[in-house]
């Protein structure tokens, strides 16, 4: 490969760039106040060039936060140009416009421009999911009945929060008076600015050390490198057209058929080292419900992430720099006005679950072409916001409930874990109960529900919360109506569900989306996570693996017999003779 910079210097510069993004993430995570950033790690940090091409990202960032950063920068540049403004040293911009790069409103980006010898040379950017952004109900998830972009909370379109180094106080005052729990949220925003400034300082020092030309050459090489890796991986996949269709719940309790059981369709066309991804066939946008997905910032990230995780699996290929070069071979089309390319001001704040369903559908489409590199269908996620007011003031707590992976070639699916484009962390029970009027009643794996397969699907969790004071819950989930898909002869997994058990003992099964709902002290919410699909014929599963699951209490003897054709004897060992007989009879 022809390179612009000598390969030794390039390696040195690449190491330095990565080091900067990691430092930004490390500091942001450690400085921030709300658990969604510090515990769940729902943040991103990256450096871009002056046009928004991403140079490096922090390895701790969650992909759905770092992935959209180039879009944030492009959105800000467009907005600034559009209003005849210009970017000056010392400026800091705040941006969350879902129709101009942002993934959705609560993911606020802070951009610090980097200057070298008087000219704009790049951006240092941090993004993070904020607990509240001043929407109609407390919290920034579970806003499942916002009717348009304006109902989703504050909209920031390249808002200058520092003007040539001076804090723009009025903007910060607006934030403080329009955001619930402003101490936490504004504190996190300040931490974002501080972390982005550190990145800018380090990048400027790198520019001073190597000069713009060398540095540009080195990262152009880096982009080419990532592109080459991706092209090689795509070229190894047989040319052809691959199609898949899945469905999301939408609003299962709605009377309007246009709001529920909505198709997501993906057609991949692979030609040489290019992939074209077409979402034609996906349901029309929901004009007044916020499950629409920004094409830039959500759909594109879902597609890129899934393809690179399959084709350039880091477990096999090692860490390949995530940058703009990696996405060059991939083009994406979604018809305007569909769920995957909504028209402003269609609401988008609850795009999290549908976006992960896009990722899952991309995997389903490409699965027949690369069957040893995929998992069977994943279980989707769910976000819950609990809120209330104590003597000390209002409180909001967000919890991302895990899904599960489908079975994989040679391996069972990962149990109770974030799936595909999300990779956050849960909150420790001891943290939740120490700080909030909530009690966690259980946190375990579900039993007897795993998707059977030669390699079974990952198992979902069960987690229950009890309100210790009057409060409220909002739920933004999906995956309750449709089973995660089985693959290559594996059985389907099982869906998620949520129960509300009221203090008086009444139990109510809830749909996957619940707008702000008041709860009384003593009410309990139990969330059952989904189980991924099975991979391969369950009758081919190694009998000792079935026995292990029985001994571990994950399945019972009856399931072993019915689903796997394995007979467990009285001594808790596999009865091989009976097993062979039973399997032969199927």
């Amino acid at each position: 490969m022809q390179t612009r910079v000598d390969p030794f210097l390039a390696a040195v510069i690449h190491g330095a760039l990565e080091n900067i993004a990691i430092e930004m993430g490390h500091k942001l995570m450690r400085m921030s106040y709300s658990s969604i950033i510090r515990e769940s790690e729902d943040f991103g940090t990256a450096l871009t060039d002056a046009t928004g091409r991403q140079l490096c990202e922090c390895t701790m960032s969650t992909p759905l936060q770092s992935g959209p950063i180039p879009g944030y920068v492009e959105g800000v540049l467009r907005e600034i140009a559009g209003r005849g403004d210009e970017i000056r040293p010392g400026d800091v911009f705040m941006h969350n416009d879902a129709y101009a790069g942002a993934s959705h409103g609560p993911d606020v980006g802070f951009l610090v421009p980097i200057f070298h010898e008087g000219a704009l040379a790049g951006f240092s950017v941090t993004t993070a999911h904020h607990l509240d952004i001043g929407a109609l109900t407390p919290g920034s998830c579970g806003i499942v009945d916002a009717v348009d972009a304006y109902a989703e909370g504050l909209q920031f379109k390249a808002v200058r929060v520092y003007d040539e180094g001076r804090k723009v106080e009025p903007v910060w005052q607006i934030l403080r008076s329009n955001i619930r729990i402003a101490d936490l949220v504004v504190g996190d925003m300040e931490a974002q600015v501080a972390a982005a400034r550190i990145g800018a300082e380090r990048y400027a020092a790198l520019l001073d050390q190597y000069g713009l030309e060398t540095l540009t050459g080195a990262y152009e090489d880096l982009l080419d490198y990532s592109e080459t890796m991706m092209r090689d991986a795509i070229a190894a996949v047989p040319d052809g057209t691959y199609n898949a269709r899945t469905h999301i719940d939408g609003y299962l309790d709605s009377d309007d058929p246009a709001l529920k059981e909505l198709p997501i369709e993906v057609t991949l066309t692979i030609e040489g080292s290019d992939i074209h991804v077409d979402l034609t066939g996906t349901a029309p946008q929901t004009p007044n419900k916020p499950i629409n997905m920004p094409l830039v910032g959500t759909v594109d990230c879902a597609v890129w992430l899934t393809l690179r995780s399959i084709l350039l699996d880091s477990d096999k290929f090692g860490a390949i720099p995530q940058n703009a070069g990696l996405t060059r071979p991939i083009t994406i089309h979604a018809p305007e006005g569909c769920l995957a390319n909504p028209i402003f001001p269609a609401p988008v704040i609850a795009r999290f679950c549908p976006g992960n369903a896009v990722a899952d559908t991309v995997m389903k489409a490409i699965a027949p072409a690369v069957p040893q590199q995929v998992s069977a269908g994943i279980g989707n996620l769910r976000v819950m916001a609990f809120s209330g007011a104590t003597a000390a003031g209002p409180w909001v707590h967000m919890e991302i409930m895990e899904g599960a992976y489908g079975g994989r070639y040679g391996k069972d699916g990962m149990d109770a874990v974030d799936t595909l484009y999300a990779n956050t962390r849960n909150n420790p029970v001891e943290d939740i109960e120490s700080h909030l009027p909530l009690r966690v009643l259980n946190y375990e794996l579900r039993e007897n529900v795993a998707g059977p397969g030669q390699w079974r699907g990952g198992i979902g969790s069960i987690r229950s919360f009890e309100l210790l004071e009057d409060g409220a819950v909002s739920v933004e989930g999906d995956g309750q109506r449709f089973d995660p898909w089985g693959f290559a002869g594996g059985a389907d997994g099982s869906p998620a569900n949520v129960d509300l058990v009221q203090a008086d003992g009444r139990t109510e099964a809830l749909p996957s989306k619940i707008p702000y709902r008041q709860l009384a002290r003593g009410d309990r919410i139990t969330a059952y996570g989904p189980c991924g699909g099975g991979y391969g014929n369950p009758l081919l599963r190694a009998p000792e693996d079935v026995l292990d699951d029985v001994l571990d209490g994950l399945i019972d003897d009856a399931s072993a017999r019915e689903k796997y054709g394995v007979v467990i004897g009285a001594t808790r060992e596999v009865d091989l003779a009976e097993t062979e007989k039973l399997r032969a009879s199927r």
């Binding site: 430092e23 390895t59 699996d313 994989r408 990962m414 974030d418």
Partner: protein, 689 residues
């Protein structure tokens, strides 16, 4: 007073014997015996006593660094372990933080699911629950516990962890459960999560406890056997084992808290580096310990070894919630392989040729270009005089593998070899920056100490990348870890979760927490027979702004903690936060999360290093054509090779130069001046500093 340090590594067991009265050091190296490390220790013990002309019985104290616990974790070869936990929480260890280690991978494994420390079938739940303040919501179900204990006993469980929610606030349920388990399973190793790591965050605490149970029987067996063997050899002195926090502990403490040895083998190096530095006034030190496959980096500030950040320590992919010295390990060493990857990028490491086949230059059939081969091609290693002549290097083989790589890159062999070193050195410099610049510490105020077999080869160039102007190479770079063992005091820790917020601190309670911890440590020192005037108690707190999730360590003054005493603590926290992250939230309330006392019990150990004085001149034992980078260009220098043991003391000499000795080779690049000091250290300083 005679003390012996024994450091057991993967390949070699290093021993160093010090006669403190006579200021005499004897060193010895013997092959390790991984199947039973005690055998190698005993063989080495006998050999070094012969060498020094003493009897085993003359040794007053034996200091030991072991990797038995570490290896049990790395090889996932521990006890059949069980657990008792709260009803409803059987799978905390399995679900973890529900996060995948790799963002971009479908086929990855989750260590805690793929190779669990405690299988689900051995995780039992019992009723009983505390709230966040430690109040009892449901009593412990003792009958259920006995049933679980019998089930585990019948299943052959050898070690049990008791892990209950909120045990860090109130350990009563855990303690009672452990009591019952010990009654029901007298043979088993029983431990509790609050004993191992009394801090909040259940997954991390339970995992640390599980680790302790998993490696416990093995470590305990090893220590017991070792002590027996040593006694059989006539050892009358005490055995001390190095712990992850950089101190030593008695065998009894290790048997109770085996997880404290997880970094035992690594920390001794930092200790050794710190000790050498302390005698030349270098109390701000970066230690760079480079071996065949990895480089271990440690930071010493004001003579104190930097501790790992709360929540960033891990081993074998599992989080460890224990006080540990911060040792940053990266895959960079003499065996690191240089290659062009499938995307066309040039890389060095982390894959290593290891010891077998090793670098091409070893002539054992290695055919991949390594860092050692690059050093040889550039003339920085003397082929006839590697490791003091114990081994001859094959210069032709090295050149041939480097040339092959050079052809692939379209560069000269010299450019390629130098490029490999630059990339490797830059990786190490970045790792050092992550522990200095990124924490608000300016490395330019530090001395860099290079040791291990390959540290002295790279130290000066790494220092140059960081703007560090002083480099220290200890007298015996290859045995610095064993030396470090002889410099440690007994060190134990007591910890409590405090959750005290500025403005609402219950001062008597906080003072009492510290007094209570000091009493706990004093009881241990009483048991160990440490006299009162040899004890020191150092107080610390982990603080954060209310709402944050990561704490910073701040020193806490002795005596009663009234408002005035705490004022200093709050201000220190703001300052530390600003230094570490570049920002402080002055208006925000501060919370003391955990409080800690480090108890130090002084033991007889190495005092000052022996002094030497040598007259004479710099007489080369050879000369080579060495290639160095000078600015942008590569230049070739006629470079003298010196035998380090013959160099005059306290006389400056400009580089370039190559200094040979039995356990390492030191490179002095052009632009640096070196001298041998009165402690036989090599000191290098940058000319433009």
């Amino acid at each position: 007073m005679i003390v012996l340090g024994v450091d057991v590594g993967g390949t070699f067991t290093d021993l160093i014997l010090a006669d403190l009265g006579k200021q005499q050091l004897t060193v010895h190296k013997t092959a390790s015996t991984p199947a039973n490390p005690a055998i190698g220790v005993v063989a080495g013990l006998k050999a070094i006593c012969d060498k020094a002309g003493i009897a085993v019985a003359d040794i007053d104290s034996l200091f030991h660094g072991t990797t038995v616990g570490t290896n049990a974790m790395l090889e996932h070869d521990g006890a059949v372990t069980g657990m008792v936990t709260n009803e409803g929480f059987r799978d905390v260890l399995h679900i973890g933080r529900h996060q995948r280690p790799q963002h971009y991978s479908i086929m990855q494994d989750l260590p805690w699911q793929n190779r669990p420390l405690i299988k689900r079938r051995f995780r039992h739940t019992v009723a009983g629950r505390l709230d966040a303040q430690g109040g009892e919501l449901a009593p412990l179900d003792e009958d259920g516990l006995r049933v679980a204990a019998r089930t585990m006993r019948e299943a052959g469980v050898e070690a049990v962890l008791v892990g209950f929610l909120f045990s860090y606030v109130n350990p009563a349920h855990e303690r009672r459960a452990a009591e019952i388990l010990r009654e029901e399973m007298p043979e088993a190793f029983v431990t509790t999560s609050s004993d191992v790591a009394p801090q909040f965050r259940e997954f991390e605490r339970f995992t640390t406890g599980a680790m302790s149970a998993f490696i416990g029987p093995k470590v305990r067996r090893y220590i017991t056997e070792l002590q027996g063997k040593l006694t059989d050899q006539g050892l009358r002195g005490e055995l001390h084992v190095m712990t992850s926090s950089g101190g030593v502990a008695t065998p009894q403490m290790i048997a109770e808290k085996p997880a404290s040895t997880l970094l035992s083998g690594l920390v001794a190096g930092v200790r050794g580096g710190a000790w050498v530095g302390s005698h030349i006034g270098a109390d701000r030190l970066i230690t760079l310990d480079i071996g065949g496959t990895s480089a271990d980096i440690g930071i010493v500030r004001d003579g104190r070894l930097a501790e790992a950040d709360a929540r960033s320590a891990s081993i074998a992919g599992f989080p460890v919630m224990l006080p540990m010295i911060d040792i940053h390990t990266i895959g960079a060493g003499g065996g690191s392989i240089a290659y062009v990857d499938r995307g066309g990028a040039f890389r060095v490491g982390p894959e290593s040729a290891g010891a077998d086949p090793g670098p091409a230059a070893y002539g054992h059939g290695g055919d991949l270009p390594t860092v050692t081969d690059a050093n040889l091609v550039l003339g920085r290693l003397a082929p006839e005089n590697f490791l003091g002549g114990d081994m001859t290097l094959d210069a032709e083989a090295a050149r041939s593998v480097i040339t092959r790589l050079a052809d692939e890159l379209g560069r000269t062999p010299e450019e390629t070899a130098e490029g490999a070193l630059t990339v490797l050195n830059s990786n190490m410099a970045n790792a050092i920056r992550s522990r200095t610049v990124q924490k608000g510490i300016d490395p330019r105020d530090f001395t860099l100490s290079g040791f291990g077999g390959a540290g002295p080869l790279h130290a000066a160039e790494v220092a140059g990348m960081l703007g560090v102007t002083r480099v220290l190479i200890p007298p015996h770079p290859g045995i610095t870890s064993a030396l470090g063992l002889l410099t440690a005091d007994l060190e134990y820790h007591a910890l409590r979760t405090a959750f005290a917020v500025k403005g609402g601190v219950d001062h008597p309670r906080l003072t009492h927490l510290f007094d209570d911890m000091e009493a706990e440590l004093n009881a241990i020192f009483d048991r160990d027979g440490v006299p009162a005037d040899k004890r020191r108690m150092l107080r610390e707190g982990d603080l954060r702004y209310v709402g944050q999730g990561y704490e910073l360590k701040i020193d806490v003054p002795d005596g009663p903690l009234d408002a005035e005493a705490l004022e200093r603590v709050w201000q220190d926290f703001h300052d530390r936060h600003r230094a570490e992250y570049g920002h402080a939230f002055e208006a925000s309330p501060i919370e003391i999360v955990t409080v800690k006392v480090r108890g130090l019990g002084e033991v007889e150990k190495l005092g000052a290093p022996p002094e030497i004085a040598r007259e004479g001149t710099f007489e080369p034992v050879g000369q080579g054509r060495c290639v160095f980078r000078v600015g942008e260009a590569l230049e070739t220098f006629e470079t003298p090779y010196f035998d380090r043991a013959t160099l005059p003391t306290d006389r400056d000499r400009p580089g370039p130069a190559i200094l040979l000795q039995t356990d390492s080779t030191t490179v002095v690049p052009p632009g640096w001046t070196f001298r041998v000091d009165r402690f036989a250290n090599v000191l290098m300083t940058r000319d433009d500093a």
